[in-house]
Structures are given as C-alpha cells and as structure tokens.
Symmetry: D2
Subunit: 412 residues, 4 copies
Amino acid sequence: MEEYVQEIELEGHIIDSLILPKVLDTIMDLGGDFEILDIKVGKRKTDTSYARILVKASSKELLQHILQELHKLGANIPQVASVDLKPAPKDCVLPDDFYSTTNHRTFIYLNGELIEVENIKMDGVIVVDPKRKKAYCRTIREIKKGDLVVVGNRGILVKPEERPRHYTIFNFMESNVSSERPNYNIIRYVAEEIYNVKRNGKKIVVVAGPAVVHTGASEDLATMIREGFVDVLFAGNALAVHDIEYQLFGTSLGMDLKTGRTTRFGHRNHLRAINEVMKAGSIENLVKSGKLKSGIMYECIKNKTPFVLAGSIRDDGPLPEVITDVVEAQKEMRKHLKNCGLVLILATMLHGIATGNLLPSYVKTVCVDINPAVITKLIDRGTAHAVGIVSDVGLFLKALVKELKLLTSSIH
Amino acid sequence: MEEYVQEIELEGHIIDSLILPKVLDTIMDLGGDFEILDIKVGKRKTDTSYARILVKASSKELLQHILQELHKLGANIPQVASVDLKPAPKDCVLPDDFYSTTNHRTFIYLNGELIEVENIKMDGVIVVDPKRKKAYCRTIREIKKGDLVVVGNRGILVKPEERPRHYTIFNFMESNVSSERPNYNIIRYVAEEIYNVKRNGKKIVVVAGPAVVHTGASEDLATMIREGFVDVLFAGNALAVHDIEYQLFGTSLGMDLKTGRTTRFGHRNHLRAINEVMKAGSIENLVKSGKLKSGIMYECIKNKTPFVLAGSIRDDGPLPEVITDVVEAQKEMRKHLKNCGLVLILATMLHGIATGNLLPSYVKTVCVDINPAVITKLIDRGTAHAVGIVSDVGLFLKALVKELKLLTSSIH
Amino acid sequence: MEEYVQEIELEGHIIDSLILPKVLDTIMDLGGDFEILDIKVGKRKTDTSYARILVKASSKELLQHILQELHKLGANIPQVASVDLKPAPKDCVLPDDFYSTTNHRTFIYLNGELIEVENIKMDGVIVVDPKRKKAYCRTIREIKKGDLVVVGNRGILVKPEERPRHYTIFNFMESNVSSERPNYNIIRYVAEEIYNVKRNGKKIVVVAGPAVVHTGASEDLATMIREGFVDVLFAGNALAVHDIEYQLFGTSLGMDLKTGRTTRFGHRNHLRAINEVMKAGSIENLVKSGKLKSGIMYECIKNKTPFVLAGSIRDDGPLPEVITDVVEAQKEMRKHLKNCGLVLILATMLHGIATGNLLPSYVKTVCVDINPAVITKLIDRGTAHAVGIVSDVGLFLKALVKELKLLTSSIH
Amino acid sequence: MEEYVQEIELEGHIIDSLILPKVLDTIMDLGGDFEILDIKVGKRKTDTSYARILVKASSKELLQHILQELHKLGANIPQVASVDLKPAPKDCVLPDDFYSTTNHRTFIYLNGELIEVENIKMDGVIVVDPKRKKAYCRTIREIKKGDLVVVGNRGILVKPEERPRHYTIFNFMESNVSSERPNYNIIRYVAEEIYNVKRNGKKIVVVAGPAVVHTGASEDLATMIREGFVDVLFAGNALAVHDIEYQLFGTSLGMDLKTGRTTRFGHRNHLRAINEVMKAGSIENLVKSGKLKSGIMYECIKNKTPFVLAGSIRDDGPLPEVITDVVEAQKEMRKHLKNCGLVLILATMLHGIATGNLLPSYVKTVCVDINPAVITKLIDRGTAHAVGIVSDVGLFLKALVKELKLLTSSIH
C-alpha cells in the first residue's frame, strides 16, 4: 500500500492539557495512523512538553483532511510549505544554498502535494519539473542552465528506512564488522535473500573485483550468471582481462590457478589475453568466434546479462567494452541500478564504493572482503540493510553457489 | 642416509693452478660428495680466487679421511677446532659471550667429532655434556649452575634447511603473503601434505585459536581429531571454553552459531560453561560424566589425543586443565613438539608465535589467518617450509576436512 | 554528589488520566529529579500507555520517601525485592542460575537498601556479605565454598554510563574506527584528558606492547613516567626486555633503532639483555647497580611507579619481575586498577584485552594501534568513554609527549 | 660513465682446460670489465662446467672488439642476433608472440647495435624505428597499424637494477613490510633522499590520496609544494575537493579537522566546494579570483607545480581539471614521470598502483600507508629501491616537513 506521510509538532502543555491524547485520537478516528518520532515531557508544571509525530494516510486526500483537523487542535505542521526552487545559473553550476541529498527515500512538497524524488542517491541535488509534477535526483554534472533546483531545507521529507523487526541477516548481527563469525551459516541466509529478491521481481547486481578470478572463483560466478542469479555485473577491466586470460591460458596474471604457482613466461598471458580481444574487436566477438568458451564474461554475453566495465587508471589495455570515461561509466551504472533489490559486492573497494554512492539506502547490500576496513567503509553509508562478511571471496563464492543450488533443487 | 659434513675454503690461484678441479676430483674419487657454497674468481692473473665448499660423506671416518687429503692439497678446513665451553656461573645465568642459537639444524665440533644439538629452537643456548657426547638446546631458565655452555662462534656448524627443488606448496608460492590466491586448490595440497606427514610417521600439531569455534568450524576440527589427523592440540583456555559452551548451550560467547545472532542472556553461557567444568572438576570428568558428548575437547579426551591448554591473562576461569604458569606451559609444548612433521596454525597469533619460537626450521608450517600481517609475523622466522593462507578459518577447515576425506577414501 | 536512583514503571491511561504529569510533579516537588527512560503512547483511547522513569535523589532516605509517594499514585516500583542469594557449593564452583555481571556500575537491593557492587568487571559474579552490607564482584576462581552468590535477575540495578552531553574526544567521533582522522589534533585532546584525570586525583594506567620500543618511542614513554603522567604500567616480558636491550646495546630484537637496520649478530642482544638482568637478579638490581641508566623500566624503578609484567607463552626468559602465573598476574592488575580514571592502551592486543576485561565501563579508555581491527576488538566492550586512534604508536607517543609538555608549561 | 654490456656463456671443461682464466684475462687486458653472473663447476673430470659472464665496456666499439676475441676463445655470445620485428596488423593489435616488457632497464640489439628502450614500463611492448635507431616502450592502445613490434625473446637484454651496496633506506630494511619500525628515524632518511634527488636534478613525484586531507596534513603537503619539494602531484578528484572544502569551509567531507567532529549540515560542504569551483570554471580561476587562498591545490597553481587529477568512478563532480578519461589520464601521468628520481606515494592504492605500473624499476619509491597489505601490493613490483612505511600519513607528513626544514636550514 502506498503511504502518504507528514510530520507534525506539538508543543506546550500538551500532556497536562490533554492535547496529545486528543491529537492521537483524531488521527485514528479519521482512519489515519501515526508514529511518535520524539517526545519530551516537561519536568515541572510550568515547563512545556514537546512531541514530534509522523501522520500517515493511505491517500493524499485523507492526509490533507487529517492535517486540517490537527491544525485546529494546535498542531504545528511544518514543511507543508512548498520547497524553494532556484534556477541553475549555468550548466554544471548550482544555485547557492542548494539542498544536498542523502541516500534515503526523499519527498518534496510542491503546492501541497508530496512528490517522491526519483532515483535518489547520496550527495546529489533535486531538480523539479513543476509542470509534470516530478522531482529527480541529479549530479552536478547533469545540471543544465535553468534547471529548477531545490534550495534550503523547506518542504523536504526524508524517510530513513526502518530496520526490519523480524529476523534477517541484515539486522541480526552486531553492528561491528568481525572476522569471527560463522560464515558458513550466514552464507545460507545470503542465498535465501538472493532467492527472495529474485522471486519478488527485483534485480541482483553483482559488483566484482579481480580477486574473484585470482582466488579461483570465476567458475562459481559464471555459474551464478548462467543460473540467472545475476541481473547486472559491475566490474573493471581487470576482472574481464583476468577472466579471459584464465579461460584462454589457464593463468591469472601469470599464476597457474590450479596450483597457485607463478608460471615461467606466464606474465605475458595478461597482455596476450588483451591482444586476443583486440584482434577480435571486442569480448563479444571473441565469444562469437568460438575462441572464448567459458567463464564470467562468456556467460554474460551468452545469457545477455548486461555488464558495465568501468575504466580506472590502473587498467592495462583496456578492453574495447571498458567505458574509459568515468562520468559516462557512472551514468551507465546508475541506469542499471533501477529496480535493484540487492547488491553483492565481491572484493572490490573502488567499484564497491562507486556503486554505494549511487544507491538508495533501502537497497540490500552484501559486502564480502578479506579486509574488515574495506567492509566498514563500504557498508557505513546509512544503508538500512547491509551485511559485511569478512572472508576469502573464493571460498565464499564456492559455498554460496552450493547453497543456491540446494535452494533451487529443494524448491523445484 | 645420515650425512656428515664439513665446510672447507680454498683461496689463491686455485683456478689457474688447477687446485680447484683437483680438490673436487679428490672428494669424488674417495666416495664423498660436495656442494659449492660460494665461488669468487679473481679478475686478473695476479688476483686470487676463492671457493667455499661443503664436503659430505656417509660416515665420520670417511669425512675425516677426505679432509686429511684435502688438507694436503692446501684446503683450509675451518672450525675443526672444538667449541669453547664455559660453566654457567649461577642458575638461570649464562656466561658472557654465550652462543645464541638459530632455529636451524645445528652441529658442534667437540674433540674432532660432529655432534647435532638436540631439540634446537631459536634464541636458546647450547649446553654440552662432554662425557656422553651430547649437546642440548636450552632456555635460560633451564640453565643450572655449572652447566657447560657454548661461548663464541668457534666449532659451530649451522645448516639452514635447503628449499626443496621439486614442487610443494611450501615453495611454489611467491614469498609475499597475499589474500588473492586460489585457496580452494591450495587446501588440496595442504591435505596431501598432512596425509604424507602422517604416513611418514611424523606428528601433526594443530595450534588453534578461539575463532575456530566462532567461525563455526568446531565440528570440522573435532572430525580431524576423531579421524586421527591431529596428534597434539595446542590452544588456550578460550578455545576450550567456547567449544564447551557451544556443545552445551549452542552459543559461542553468547552468539548463536546457527544464525550468527547474539542471543538474549546468552553472554551468561560463557561463565555457565566454565562453571559446568568446575563442578565436574575437569574437562575429562565432564566427558566421563556423559555431559559433554561432542566437540573438540570431547574428541581429544575420547581419542586420547594429547592437548596443551596454555594460560593467558585474558582468560576467564581458567579451566582446571589450563596450565596457568607460562613457563610450565612452554615446557609442556616443547615436549610435544618432538618428532613433529607439520604444524597447522589456525587463527591464533599468541599461540602461533609461541609455537614458532619452539620449532626447528625444518618443520613444515601452515598458517591460516584472516589478517595477512599475522601470517607475515608467524612465517617470517627462517622456516624453510612455511605456507601462509589468508582466509576465513571456518571456511578453510570445512574445505580441508572435505579434502582429507576424499584422500582417505581414494586410498582405501 | 552521590546519587541514589530507582527505576519505576507507569502503565495504563497515564496520559489521559493525567497520572504521568502528577508523578513527575511529585518527584520534583519532593526535591528529587527524574529521567524518562522510555515512553510509549497508546494509539487509541482504549489503548494503554507506558512510561519507564528513573527517579533520582541525593540520599537514600529521600529516595525512599519519593518512592512511597509514587507508589500511592500507582507507580510500579520493580526490583525493590532483595537479590536472591545461594551459597557456593564448593571452592571455584558457582550455584546454578548465578548472575553474570556486566562491566557497568551495578547495585543490588538487599533488605530495602541499595548497595553498590565493588570492583565491578565483566563476566564476574556478585558475592554478598549481608552482615557488613557489602557486595563484591568476584571471578569464579576467587569463589570459596559457602560464599553467598547472587542468583537470578531479581533486585539488581545496572546503570550504564551516560554518554556525556558536552564535547569530549570520547563522544565527538563517529562510532566507527577509522584510519582517516586528524590524529594530530585528537592527540591534543588526549593530552588534555590525561591532564584533567591527573588533576582530579585519578590514576592513569598505561598498557604498552613491545612495539613501543620497536617504533622508537621508549624515550617518550620514559618521559611520561618521569614527568608523572603514568601511575601504573602494565606490560609483558617483551616490553621490558626490548627496552633494556635498547638501553644497553642500542638495538631492539637486533634492529638498530637509529637506522631501522638489522645489525650483524644483533639477534644475540635480546638474550644478552635477559642475561644481564639474570646476573643482577632483577631489573631493580640492574638499576641499583648503575648498569641500567635510562629507559622505561629505569624510570619506573627510579620514580617508584608500580608496574605489572604479566607472563605469556611467547616469553623469552622471562625476567625475574615477570609474573609467570596468569591468574596471579590478573589479580595484581586488578588491584592496580582501583581509582583508575583513564587507561591508555598502546599497541598491544593481549594486554589490552586483559585490561579491558577487568575494567568498569566508566573508566576512560584510549586505544592506539596501527590495526583498526585490534582497536575495534578493544573498545567494543560497552565502554562509555572510549576512543580509538589508528596510528603508528611511535609517532603518536612523540606527539603526545610534546602536547603534554606544552600543557604543563602553559599552566605553570 | 655510459656502460655497454653483453652477456656471454662458457661451457665445457672450462676450468680444467684453463679457458675460464683465459677469458677473464682477455677481458681485463683489452680494457673491459666483467661480472660473473653464474658459475657451475662439474663434479667429475668428465663433467662439464658452466659460466655466465657479463662483459662490460666503455664504448660500443670496445665491446665489439672484446666480444670478437672471446668468440675465438670459444665463448658463446648469445643474442648478438638482432631482435625480431613484426608489423602490427591493425591499430591496437599486436602481432602474436610479441615481447612483453618488464619494468627493468631494457636494451635491444639491432644490426649489431645496442639500443636502450625509451620510457620503459611493465607490461608494455617494444616498438622499433630502425631508421632513427630508436626503440620505444608502448601500450597496446598506442599501437598503430604497421608499427614494428619486437617479437620472441631474441636480441633483448634486460638489466635489473643492482641493489646498492652502501647504506640507504632502500636496502637496509628486511624485505617484509612491518608496522614495528622506528619511523621517526626512517623519516629522516626519507628527507635526505628527497633532498639528494632534488640536488641531482631529478624530479620528485608525489602521489596523494584524500586521507592526506582527512588526517589533517594538507598544510604539510602544501608546505612541501611551496618549498619546492614537489615537482609533480598525482591525485584524484577527491584530494582536490577535500582540500578545497577544507580551505573554504574548515571541514573535510563534513568533519571539522580541528576537532575530528562531524559538523551538523557539514556534509553539504563537500558539494558546496565542488559548486564553488564549477562557478569559477576551474580550480585555477578560483585561485585567481582570490577565493581559494591556501592549501594543496592553491600552492600547485601559485607555484606552477604541474598536477594530474585522474578521474575515478567514485568521483563526485568531478572538478573541471579532472581528466575523466582514464586512458588520457594515464598518458598524462606517464609524460610527467620522465626524469623522475623519486616517487612518494601517500595513502592511495588506486593512484599508487597506477603510478607503479608506469614506472621503470630504477626509480626510488617511498610508500606510506596505514595498511601493510596496501604497501606490499605497491612495492612488490620488482622495484630496486622501494621502502614501505606503515604509518598514519598525517603524522608522517608533519614529521617529514619538519625534517626537510631542518635539512634546508642546516645547509643554507
């Protein structure tokens, strides 16, 4: 059910004078609901008390009706005033006093109406199209001269995601990231979450670093793609090159993945893999030509699973499919994050942080890394449903794939 | 085959004058063998050259014979002089200028004979019993007034372990510890090593930290003990307490290991587990009484696998079996390390370093930890056969047990 | 001012019926104070509301008087019932259902009186002496047969430390440990805290690992001791040995601290330092003999600053002053923690955790370590005033000493 | 003095038949020099011996003359054959069997002449211009159809940098990265190295991550730029944005750097800083307009110190000066690395690895990071003169600037 909400404030002798119970009764009597966000009770008869209440209704009309009644009871209804808008003075330039977004679900009031900001992300700004009654979260580079940008704090409603009350991996763990957890059992819950997100018609986005290949888990990620558990893959040039090197020559940066041994002359294989793609013209052509027959990139192309390979200054090559302009790459990533239900970040700080920057706080996030400090950085961004797993990504993926298969077979 | 060795030096126009080839021929002709340790060739006719050669023979007598012949060819045979000995002035006090041992295989010359130092470890001293022609590595606390202690550097032969030329996990990996390795395949090699060490009649010593329980791997370590892959267990009070807490109450420090969730009032379980052991009088009694029916400590007691629980100042309790005096605990650990072929260090820096301090360099060492810095500290002690695996110890043990079972069933 | 407190509960139509404001007025009118711990307001007229209130008074008598009045107003005053006590069945054995302590300030009700538990620490139990009206926190090893131990949860009041509202280093920082903080400025606040704790007549306990010497900071810690900023030093054998090695021979584990270079034959210096102490009979004798003229241990002995050197199984030697029995060492440490105002933990996980286990939650804790995971482990124990600094301990101590000197000179 | 070198091999009864001494004499008699790279002496009269010798001469002509004489003595002179060349079949495509470069100084033989490969880096290829007798190291993206690319291994001479024999910070430290070093003293040596590199007319390149600002060291880096100790600055968008945010608003990502406290509404400052630059049109304009008056970017612009801001997908904004195309950014970085004598990498893995990929092995490298694993990754690339310092970058830079000032004043 869609929900329309408004925060109100009560101040004064609201307890002694029985205003508080009257307000609550009114809301309930009219068919609304409420949540007490904050309550402070005055210490002495002469002190005033204070309550901040979120009023909820199932339609805009009902919400408006309730608010009118509460107003009569003396409730202070802040922010019913519309947001303030100013035009952008130039392309890529914001009016001073612009409002900077969080990654929480955000609404604006515009002429008495509550409009959700689309495509919310952290550190963006809100551009409003008053005619179409639409509000968009934009980056500074997307701003065009004349865009109507929200300024100040008026008329904005931010709704942090509530932590779920029932048991999920996203709230059962103590807040701190720890390497001393029963990961084997936790992986089972991750598998279930992935399964449920898919069943609910949301997308699974996997963000993978090159360690996935180095740790010998490329077959496992390839299996996840083939079995339909990956809707989009975000990675860099290195993941693709190492994957292709491994498929063509059995090594990853010259290390034999069967033995962990560095092979003689093996370091050439890295550049040889790049050259094979260059000869074919693209990864896709290499698959079509029959030369690349397995692996992560192969499965993406065979199963038409979209992928974004974002460039970085560490890249060798890079491969033709790599988007070398970072602003373009961000745009492409953001496009694919729509309707995303769960992000699985596998051993990559750069791509993980980049993805985190683009995500609303209500998207579930699972981070796997051997370094707890990386996980702390990745999940510490106001995400409501984040779980960090300090583990070897190779052993993690092997166990995850096993659990996903068990789940699938137990259901079919 | 036992091998007797002596280093010799040649200096002068040994190449021009054909002394070098004559020396080498003589050694081979008399049935010995040699290794050229160092060779420097003079730049000009007038410059002298230099060679350092290790002469090897299958008996003391043969070695003496060869050395006599080489002496005639002008070879300088250093260190045939006996070691210098001085009596310890007091209990626990060394003569000044004592020789401080390395962890490499060490021999002393005593009246023309080469005697291996028994029980070698790092940072010990050598005490000689000339009558019984024996040499022992001792710690300073073990020194008794009047003990004959080796002083200076004369008459000592240190033989660092040669790195094996053929392929093993102990030499195939680049020197640096890395979290980006195909651990799944490396675990297979670890399993093979364990299997081979057992077959060769050497002991496997497992040194385990409490994370083994926290990460949900106590069943796996218990299985290894039951299946006979552990000859001695070194651990602290915490491992035993967490293991028993988990077996009795399903939690580890109050965390439910099935879900990773902290249970309400669960923190009491820690002290309850200790109290159960205290009531029984010992872990052994708790097993005998039928109250402790599974887990790591249970399997140790059932299978009569010796264990050393060494105390630390972090301990709660500690349990009756814990050796609370650290000097006593070290002695007990060292006793159990005799004939040890492989040490498996699982997620413990304190007990791992303590064990490393007591080990000769030729014992194989496998270290598993989530923190690469811990592994670097543990394996960086001149050990010839050490491998560090950066991994989640829970997933590691699960995979290791699987591989050990495959090996066992494939062989039977 | 000493404060006496009691939690009460109100339930029912406490807002509609104006009971809540009456209760609050009564408390204030009688000269008490209160804090609303929890308030839940019923949604409908027919729903009941609930409030949990902490009543505060300056004397036991006043508290009792207020509670009697509130009782008449219908307040539910829980836990006025005395604690339940059972005798310990044997030495070192607890009655089942014992109460396991937290590290927060804890009180018990005994025959209508509120008694603070002395020497509170985590995971202890409470032993009551009803005649002397005293309650003590004890470890299981300290329990004697017949001791009256608190069982169940009745009659216990736990008061977590409130986070201070004003600005201190202990509450200004985000919860997560981070390596990206302006440590230079934070060190200034640490210096001020140390200064203030001293001025308030509380003790500063420094817990130091051997890295203090390795990183070249032994002079700085020595200065802190000499200048009176350290009241007790907790450390292990290694700190003392490395400090003495450095003072006598200029190296630390054989590394020349002026250059960071490993010196030839330097590894002997470690055992030489131990032998010098053994010859003298003790560290104190080595100072008295004039051989040890500077450094951390020297300053402790010269300034009669107490120190506890607790043994561990890693120890070489250990030195005569080291307490090799860990249970004895814990007792000694706990003795010195009385009246401690601030603990400074410098690069040691073992001794840091051991100290943390013994500390009440209201003692200020500053942890410095290069590894964020160590800090997370150390400060994540319900401590109200803890700050973690991810830094090189050598550079940290140098900067801290500079700030302490500035403070001292600016005040004198 | 320029040095021309050639490796030769001797095999057979070279010791018995006195060929080895004759070869060495010949080289010395003709005015050349040599280095014995490898020598293996046959065990029996019938076994052959082997020597690999590097012949050195002060001119190409002399080298050729010596080699001719040695050839007569039976020396095997490998690789005098020219390199094999094949044209690139397409833009960005290499001939199969291309030679993949290391980062060591590399020469090719071309028609009897030894030519140094310009601009050497790891994982590049060698393109030869036979007419101009030039060889260049190129990346695959730089290859144009028809470029003559070296294939196979023939005719290539790789000269790994020799480790210096005298004492420098780059060789005095044990190989492993450790957090337990006397960094304060090591910083003094780093300051001296920087001083000497500058005096020798080589460039200092500083590669800096945003932690430089977060840890409160922007003033220190600004000072280094102002005092002329930085010739080029490599960084990302974040460093510039945080620096400008700090200069304009006193915060870094909203954290007050004086106190380490997160300021209310401070998170807006990040985007405000970007917007200020966007309004001005560029960082340079912001300086010219007088709005940006201090800090890292200010000093770069005031002192005309070149900087490369390379884009990454994490970037907010990014600022106009940021090169958003990563291939362009790499090119720009590589251009600035010519004549670089020392690279100082400050708390950045991404930019550090990118720079390392572009560097010849003989450039001195100093890496500072709080995470030892990052340093291991950064310096473990065959660099001859690399030193890793595990430290808080804020305290490091403060101490470095102090030492640089002491050096400067002591010399003037």
